[in-house]
């Protein structure tokens, strides 16, 4: 078992967003600000890691005819738990993320990892694989949100970063960056840079 490979590869070489192009929808939706992006990334990481672990533990007993249903039940349970936790302890972020917490269930990265990895590998490997893929997703989310919040609102995590003197000199926040189309373009640029530097062909 190669811990480093399982954890590091999904960050660059087999990144779920930039290389496998999964989970794009939520990438567009929650990256207007850095804080929701961080919470979303953390939530998806927890769900992928734990669902991979649970499915891997159950994999010898799951009847193959109801395989997908069992996977969905496990993922849905984890997502509901996370949604409840956010509502209880991070209410404002939970409001910002709104439906996208619930939609983690439909995030292709999770089902993809369950089908492609957890069903055929041991629990510890599966857990690390889920963790790595979740972190790979979070990384892209944070990079995109960083640029969108910085250029779109002039803030980072809600704190003013662009100094007032810039605005006095005529600088303006780029409102386009807050809208979904620019998220797609930023992701495209990140993808381009990432894929031009990795030779995975």
């Amino acid at each position: 078992m190669n811990v480093k490979k399982l954890l590091i590869e999904p960050l660059r070489k087999t990144n779920p967003v930039t290389v496998l192009v999964l989970g794009i929808c939520s990438c567009l939706a929650v990256t207007a600000k850095l804080k929701p992006a961080l919470v979303m990334g953390a939530s998806v990481t927890v769900v992928t890691a734990l669902s991979n672990l649970i499915i891997s533990l159950l994999r010898k007993g799951i009847p193959s005819r109801i395989r997908i249903i069992v996977q969905l039940v496990v993922v849905a349970t984890l997502v509901i738990l996370i949604d409840q936790f956010l509502k209880a302890f991070a209410y404002d972020v939970s409001k910002q993320l709104s439906v996208y917490v619930g939609l983690i269930i439909t995030n292709c990265i999770i089902m993809g990892r369950l089908e492609a990895f957890a069903l055929s590998h041991g629990p510890i490997e599966s857990f690390l694989d889920g963790l790595g893929n979740g972190l790979g997703y979070s990384l892209i989310l944070v990079i995109v949100a960083f640029f969108r919040e910085l250029i779109g609102s002039g803030t980072l995590l809600g704190y003013q970063v662009v100094p007032q003197s810039f605005y006095d000199a005529g600088y303006q926040n780029n409102g386009l960056m807050i809208l979904p189309p620019m998220a797609l373009i930023v992701i495209g640029i990140v993808m381009w840079i990432n894929n031009s530097k990795t030779e995975a062909k």
Binding site: G61, I62, P63, S64, R65, I66, I69, V70, V73, T77, I80, L81, Q84, F85, K87, A88, F89, Y91, S98, V99
Partner: protein
């Protein structure tokens, strides 16, 4: 006996056990987290009432539970709770009436499931701030409040209008008494 994990009996047993475990887990979590969630909801409601009345975070809210429930902020501003229907689900809000009883002090709206960017815009400052200063009485009668609707969100805008009109009709006797 060798167990066959693809037999019908096993599949039924497996799914039943799985569902029961999940149900117990989710119920336990819901019961445990409910007080925290309740507190957040109450806090949010408090903030909405204060924001509608234009008061700061430390404002004092008195709840008057008569035939028609009313909130009194800092003993001067009347805040009326409103409930209505948007396009996809319920919308609600608070309408603050200035001490003179005929001018809108401010309004706050929230929604369950309106479309973000269209109907969801009713929670924005731009939409909500236009209500301050509107007159609700004309010759002693309730006058429908006029406001700029959101283009592309006709149903939600109509819902907001109906909600305000309905609430003001209901509260007319109360407002006249003041």
């Amino acid at each position: 006996m060798k167990r066959d994990i693809n037999s019908n009996g096993y599949i039924f047993l497996y799914s039943t056990v799985l569902v029961v475990i999940v149900a117990v887990l989710l119920t336990a979590a819901a019961l445990w987290l409910q007080p925290y969630q309740q507190r957040n909801k109450e806090n949010e409601k408090r903030m909405m009432i204060l924001a509608a009345a234009g008061a700061n975070d430390e404002g004092e809210i008195t709840f008057i539970d008569g035939e028609l429930p009313v909130y009194l902020v800092n003993d001067s501003i009347t805040v009326l709770p409103m409930q209505g229907n948007g396009l996809w689900g319920p919308i609600w809000g608070y309408l603050a009436i200035a001490p003179d009883g005929k001018t809108v002090k401010g309004a706050q709206f929230d929604h369950k499931s309106e479309t973000p960017g269209l109907g969801g815009e009713i929670t924005t400052v731009i939409f909500q701030s236009q209500f301050a200063g509107k007159q609700i009485l004309q010759n002693g009668n309730i006058k429908p409040v006029e406001f700029d609707a959101i283009s592309g969100a006709t149903k939600t805008s109509n819902g907001v209008k109906e909600m305000i009109d309905k609430t003001l009709q209901q509260y007319q006797p109360y407002l006249e008494k003041r």
